[in-house]
């Protein structure tokens, strides 16, 4: 027995020797291999790189990946506020915005080798419309798509709509190869296949974890001298992990780091903290159908009790600007002359008194998305300030799905009183923004203040109608509509977020475009 034990020990130690030698060998081989290795860009984020690979369906986070594999007819540059041609070289509108004609770019190939033409455009948009999933509703005004000639396509609309903006949408406006899609079954794309015209080809996708993209050599726009041969998008949940990886240069770019980390990283010469405006804004929706928040005075009191400055400074860590009105500063329709609330606890107390608010009323329920650290901090600070004016609040962090479900409960009593909301535009248009959040709705969807006012409805409907032709009048109407929101206070407009994308110093060429939040167009970037 003893001998056996000893021989076991011997076996183990010789195994270790083998391991050590193997380790050395590996080190050498890896060192030798790095010299000729192709360049890899690694983008890490806290969410899945993509959920559904079907470009007609996906609307849940695959914006970055899809915009590198697929392309849209046009792209919107939100910093210059202009539309750039992409797969369409030019377009015209006629018939009061009811007919749109696009000239399609020549010499563009899909990843499967087939050529882009007007038919492919018609096929892609019609497929998206027919499937009716994801954000396909942006095409709702379109009644007919006609192939005029090989490189011209015409859209007929039922009502005037900014089809050029719609074609820049960050989801549901992608053009895919008809040949590839037709030769497979319906689910083929969903299962993790992609055939677009974009600069990168899908090489491998591990569901929910990682996407590996390879440069497409036949890309129509060509390649510069230096490029990334591979672009990898990966989910890394812990923000501390993401920060450590980017600081060591193990990753090229990352998003959603906490403000504290960003502040510290600014002094690190190895990383660049890119801060830019975004079209996302955070607001707080009051339950306007249930006491005490059904009272306008109480809502105004709550708006005065909100610690705007502290929230911008500490909850958002300074990476935000205080909101003015419902629409973010970068969105057309925003007005610089709107009223802005600021914290005034005395005034809030006075308003509560005026409203006969009873100090002993029930605890109000404040829900927020539990994974949003900034919202959590905002909620805690607001809670402590509301307590100062005698209002008790219970906080509840929930997954978005359950929070949304609770807010749509049939009985008003089951719903929350205060709801922390994050909103972003589907395409750069104020109407869909205000419509979704504040237009009367028969069935509750995103109008989570449950607010309904025919006067407001008419204001934004008119503003939308005028937008195509009398921009000034339209702006004035949007201004009026937002003034109304501020006075009625169904909602507190808190701040416009800033996009913060951290890149390693070796990762060059990134340009921020708030219309495609946190998207890196890898074709623009190069290693150094």
């Amino acid at each position: 027995m003893r001998e056996k034990m000893l021989s076991n020990v011997k076996g183990i130690s010789s195994l270790f020797t083998i391991l050590a030698i193997a380790g050395l060998l590996v080190c050498f081989s890896v060192a030798a291999a790095t010299a000729a290795e192709p360049k890899v860009a690694l983008y890490i984020q806290d969410t899945e790189p993509i959920l559904d690979w079907d470009p007609s369906v996906e609307s849940g986070g695959g914006m970055l990946v899809l915009n590198n594999v697929y392309e849209t007819l046009l792209r919107y540059d939100a910093t210059q506020k202009k539309i750039i041609p992409l797969l369409a070289t030019s377009y015209t509108q006629s018939n009061y915005g009811m007919t749109w004609t696009f000239k399609i770019r020549k010499g563009v190939r899909f990843h499967d080798g087939s050529k882009l033409d007007a038919k492919a455009v018609k096929f892609s948009i019609e497929r998206t419309m027919k499937l009716g999933k994801g954000m396909s509703y942006i095409w709702a005004p379109v009644t007919k798509i006609t192939v005029v000639n090989k490189y011209t396509v015409k859209f007929d609309l039922e009502w005037p709509a900014p089809l050029d903006l719609i074609a820049t949408s960050n989801y549901a406006a992608f053009i895919m190869s008809p040949k590839a899609v037709k030769s497979h079954n319906q689910d083929w794309l969903s299962q993790g296949n992609a055939v677009g015209t974009g600069p990168y080809v899908l090489q491998k996708s591990t569901m929910g974890e990682e996407v590996i993209l390879r440069a497409f050599d036949d890309y129509w726009n060509g390649w510069g001298e230096k490029r990334y041969d591979f672009a990898v998008v990966k989910k890394i949940v812990e923000s501390s992990s993401r920060r450590q990886m980017i600081e060591k240069g193990d990753a090229s770019a990352t998003v959603y780091l906490p403000a504290e980390d960003l502040d510290q990283m600014k002094s690190n010469p190895n990383v660049i903290v890119n801060v830019g405006p975004s079209l996302e804004n955070t607001s707080i929706m009051f339950n306007t159908q249930r006491a005490p928040l059904d009272n306008k005075l109480v809502r105004q009191a709550f708006a005065y009790a909100f610690p705007y400055k502290k929230v911008v400074k500490y909850a958002a860590g300074g990476y935000a600007i205080k909101a003015r009105g419902a629409l973010p500063a970068q969105l057309w329709g925003h007005s610089k002359s709107l009223f802005q609330y600021s914290q005034d606890l005395e005034k809030a107390k006075q308003l509560l008194k005026q409203a006969n608010y009873s100090q002993n009323s029930r605890k109000l329920l404040f829900t927020y998305v539990s994974s949003m650290e900034a919202d959590k901090k905002m909620a805690e600070m607001y809670k402590s300030d509301l307590a100062k004016i005698g209002v008790e609040v219970e906080l509840r962090g929930m997954p978005w799905e359950s929070m949304w479900e609770l807010s749509k409960s049939r009985k008003v009593e089951d719903r929350q009183d205060i709801f922390a909301m994050l909103w972003w535009p589907d395409y750069c248009d104020p109407y869909s923004w205000l419509y979704n959040m504040f237009h009367s709705q028969k069935e509750i969807l995103y109008n989570l203040a449950y607010w309904s006012d025919p006067k407001f409805d008419k204001l934004i409907d008119d503003a939308n109608y005028e937008m195509m032709f009398k921009k000034k009048k339209s702006l004035a109407l949007y201004h009026e509509a937002q003034e109304m929101l501020l006075d009625e206070s169904p909602s507190i407009f808190v701040y416009d977020k800033k996009n913060t994308l951290v890149t390693h110093k070796s990762f060059k060429g990134f340009k921020d475009n708030p219309a495609y939040p946190n998207v890196v167009f890898f074709h623009e970037t190069y290693p150094e």
């Binding site: 034990m5 380790g23 590996v26 890899v40 959920l51 974890e209 812990e238 949304w404 479900e405």
Partner: protein, 336 residues
């Protein structure tokens, strides 16, 4: 013996059926709207309605239950609400990574645990024993999610000895042939003698493997110690001692062998526990396994995925229990 096994199997099936039913009920009462989720973040009312029909959510509860059981019988766990992919396919893709982690940590746990237990029992009530006992109690008391973060900071952030997470480095993944036989990288790469991959995979699995091994270490050590202490008081050990056999031989060849029965039960228990612990640990180490999968599923209330993992774990539990029972039944001491 055969009757015993058949009886246990039948009972296991019954329990499984119960588990499936309870899971179904639980998941249906979780407040969320699967239809709205199915469509995505910016759903319209019409889309949600269509999805409700597509997913069969308008059917009565019992029809839904019937469909669910019928599908399950064919190995169909439904489609994930988030990714729209069959849950079964996803489970299969994520399973090997988890199994690898569970096996390795159980392996580490059993060996270190046995060793600690034996040392502790041999030096009973000496300071070594106290230290070992303290250590083994401490390992089951540490919040694993906390120690995981701490170790990451030390071994990656400060010392830079080990990678932060995942199963392979990006370079290895992109530019090396990754063997895929069982999906368990350590095993596959060793079989195909792919040392680059083996070394890389080993470096990656060390930290999560160790964190997950903590609990089994403590469990096995404690159980081994108390089982050994009992056995060391038995007459045949005393007899062996009186023959002048060395303490080492008595311990390793007589006593330990006879304490393996209870230890085996504990090991199955430890495997079960480790499996659940992956839910907390994998997401910290970005380990692409079942635990990570269910962590995302829970956050977004992806109920088919939650059900799939629950049923999978329950099945493994039932089998583990069965295995433990059989080990006990096969143990000569119990049988006589």
């Amino acid at each position: 013996m055969r009757i015993f096994i058949i009886k246990r199997l039948l009972l296991g099936l019954l329990v499984l059926f119960g588990v499936i039913s309870v899971t179904f009920v639980i998941v249906r009462v979780i407040p969320s709207d699967p239809a709205a989720q199915w469509v995505g973040p910016r759903a319209t009312i019409e889309q949600i309605e269509a999805a409700r029909v597509e997913l069969g959510l308008n059917d009565s509860f019992f029809v839904q239950y019937g469909n669910f059981v019928a599908d399950l019988a064919q190995g169909d766990l439904g489609k994930s609400i988030r990714t729209h992919q069959p849950v079964m396919t996803e489970l299969k893709a994520f399973l090997p990574a988890t199994l690898e982690l569970v096996f390795l940590s159980t392996f580490i746990g059993v060996f270190l645990g046995l060793y600690l237990g034996v040392v502790s029992a041999r030096r009973k009530d000496q300071w070594v024993d106290h230290l070992c006992r303290f250590f083994s109690v401490a390992t089951v008391s540490i919040p694993a999610f906390w120690i995981g973060l701490l170790l990451q900071y030390v071994f990656y952030g400060t010392l830079d000895w080990l990678p932060l997470g995942e199963r392979l480095s990006m370079n290895v993944k992109l530019f090396h042939e990754i063997p895929d036989i069982t999906g368990m990288l350590l095993f596959d790469s060793l079989i195909t003698w792919n040392l680059v991959v083996f070394w890389d995979a080993l470096k990656h699995i060390l930290l999560p493997g160790f964190v997950m091994a903590l609990f089994p270490i403590g469990l096995v050590a404690r159980m081994t110690r108390s089982a050994l202490l009992e056995i060391l008081n038995e007459d045949y050990i005393k007899a062996a001692r009186s023959y002048g056999l060395s303490e080492r031989i008595i311990m390793w060849s007589y006593a330990l062998k006879n304490s393996l029965g209870p230890t085996a039960t504990v090991v199955t228990l430890a495997i079960g526990y480790t499996l659940v612990n992956t839910f907390l640990i994998e997401s910290i180490f970005s380990w692409p396994g079942i635990g990570n999968y269910i962590a995302s599923a829970v956050v977004s209330l992806d109920y088919p995925a939650i059900m799939g993992v629950t049923i999978f774990s329950a099945v493994s539990y039932v089998f583990l229990n069965l295995a433990a029972d059989m080990i006990i039944a096969l143990d000569p001491q119990v049988r006589t």
